[in-house]
Symmetry: C2
Subunit: 343 residues, 2 copies
DNA sequence: CTGTTAGCGCTTTCAT
DNA sequence: ATGAAAGCGCTAACAG
């Protein structure tokens, strides 16, 4: 591996001149610059990242704290990871994955060893210990997943607006009785932001539209889902639509709906909130997709800004808490209720 | 941020002594060691990765080349990424994600700037340009996804054995006529290893079991899948089982099967090959799961070995090409064919 | 058992 | 318009 010294020797200039040619931070004569470029090309020179970092104190790397969750959630997390990596490259950053079970130790290790300039934290929870860790370290950080009561810059889908929009569209399609299948009970119990906001959106939309919205918490286990749906969907007068925020069990849910003898959308409209883009299970159902790409881009932007402005500055900034407005997926309107059951 | 010098000063020793305490590569008196540890704790010292790397030429980082694929494939890739990161940590390595559209440029940049010690390449294809790139760079590399005719260490599910096992189990359950839905036609046309191996396994198992196995290439687009299935499943005498290797469109496939009026498993057994672990769509279907975790572990092991032995050594080693033996998921046997249709 | 020192490759004053 | 030289933080000879 060639070094800047060898390049300088070959080009007949000083090492510093090579550095200046590369950084462009000094005026260099055409002749010299060309000689340097020729030497670089000939030797296949590429600057050593570790030397630059040691000198300059910038790594141009972001840590991405990926949550460790089982099953389908892992697929969602993986998608986010890829999108964050793409977005980071657009800002000139690479992404280091941090998947430690206890995210705190990993973040500490990476921050303190100077492996990264900033962190992006995924799937942030209320009272997330990682938040204390990065705060204590004064490590520039952006969050994916909004947590009220945390001063760090964050981005999230506006879950309240999303559920509200889904319910409104459903009501506008003519449905007067619908079930809202909220987040899983354990998510609500542990007061996850998206869970609470979703509930709020459902209540608001119910008030605004005058439709009857029966709110049911979902369940984390597939076993209890069947009983839950049976109750929710067969209680008379039967609902004509099902708005779902808890999508991890969606395939199972659709099976159960079918097992109840209900056809979608003939007997029952199913509307999704926060589905994964391109998910084939969601198929052509009316839905509001989780804007994974945009969320990743915003998170990276916030993290990079936090590097430049210092970790504490964002508190003051108005644009440091991005709530992304929900959009119904195009081409999949909410179907009307079965004839004769609109009232 | 504290440096080794400050620690040394506080402990009243030389900087090198601190280094030796940390590395353990020299005998240090208890008194000195304790003093150093105390100073380290007091200052919250943590060694700077860039300085170590500059000095020692090791980064303790692996690059993971993540393919850029749309939709559901992205979820699979994300899962692999997370598993690779976990496995790497177990070996003391961090993982840098590389998601460039043209993987070659990204790999070059990272290898030549010394950001990583080795690469793990996902979703390797026949004639993958990334393979030329890492070979040219003499960069230690392991592959996830087997490619015949490439000398690099690699790991993959034994797709031939997997399809063979699936077909045999299906035959053993009493099915005499089945359809094997192979990889998508474009995958077969571009001679992807897993696609060709799957076909071979199906043919072998057909010969061995004497069952009639109708082999159909799948399709990349959901639109044509319906027609394909209609033909495959309704041609008389009708098959009683469907063995599927092409799982990206599985939900759509199940819908189409239902639309044909066939119930699973009452009218038709569906057996999956290479399904994602914990995938709720696969549900309780009989299946051979893609051993994502084990593949990631093996890939990391191979990559780390390639660092230690030099990038060219693996050519000689027998264990450098891991084909993982397929296993039927427990608790989900292939159901028998409908009564009266076994022959 | 411990200290002194050179140097990894780069950027950036300071000097000309 | 260019060079010379210091130093980022660490490790590993070399020297007691």
């Amino acid at each position: 591996m060639a070094t800047i010294k060898e390049v300088a020797a070959l080009a007949g200039v000083a090492p510093s001149t090579v550095s200046y040619v590369l950084s462009g931070s000094r005026k260099i004569s055409d002749r010299t610059r060309e000689a340097v470029h020729a030497a670089i090309a000939e030797l296949g020179y590429y600057p050593r990242a570790s030397a630059r970092t040691l000198r300059g104190a910038r790594t141009d790397v972001l840590v991405l704290a990926v949550p460790r969750r089982p099953g389908r959630a892992r697929a969602v997390d993986g998608c986010f990871a890829i999108e964050v990596s793409d977005a980071a490259r657009a800002h000139g950053y690479d992404v280091l994955m941090m998947t430690d079970r206890n995210g705190v130790d990993g973040l500490r290790r990476i921050a303190r060893s100077g492996l990264a300039d900033a962190a992006v934290l995924m799937a942030v929870q209320e009272q997330d210990p990682r938040i204390d860790a990065v705060s204590e370290l004064a490590f520039p950080t952006a969050l994916i997943g909004h947590d009220d009561g945390c001063a760090l810059p964050a981005v999230d889908l506006d879950w309240e607006a999303a559920v509200r929009l889904a319910v409104r569209r459903t009501a506008e399609a003519g449905h007067r009785r619908m079930v809202f299948l909220a987040s899983a009970d354990h998510e609500i119990d542990s007061r996850r932001g998206y869970a609470l906001r979703g509930l709020r959106g459902a209540r608001k939309a119910a008030r605004e539209t005058g439709a009857e919205v029966r709110i049911h918490p979902s369940t984390g286990t597939a076993e209890r889902l069947g009983a839950l749906l049976r109750t929710a969907l067969t209680t008379r007068p039967e609902p004509t639509a099902l708005v779902v925020q808890h999508l991890l069990l969606l395939p199972r849910l659709l099976e159960e709906v079918a097992a109840l003898g209900l056809r979608v959308p003939g007997d029952l409209a199913v509307v999704l909130v926060g589905s994964l883009p391109d998910d084939p299970v969601s198929g052509a159902l009316p839905r509001i997709e989780l804007p994974v790409g945009r969320m990743a881009q915003e998170a990276v932007r916030l993290a990079v800004e936090a590097i430049d402005t210092g970790p504490d500055a964002p508190r003051d900034r108005g644009d440091a808490r991005q709530l992304i407005a929900p959009v119904m997926a195009p081409g999949a309107p909410v179907p009307p209720p079965p004839p004769g059951r609109t009232g």
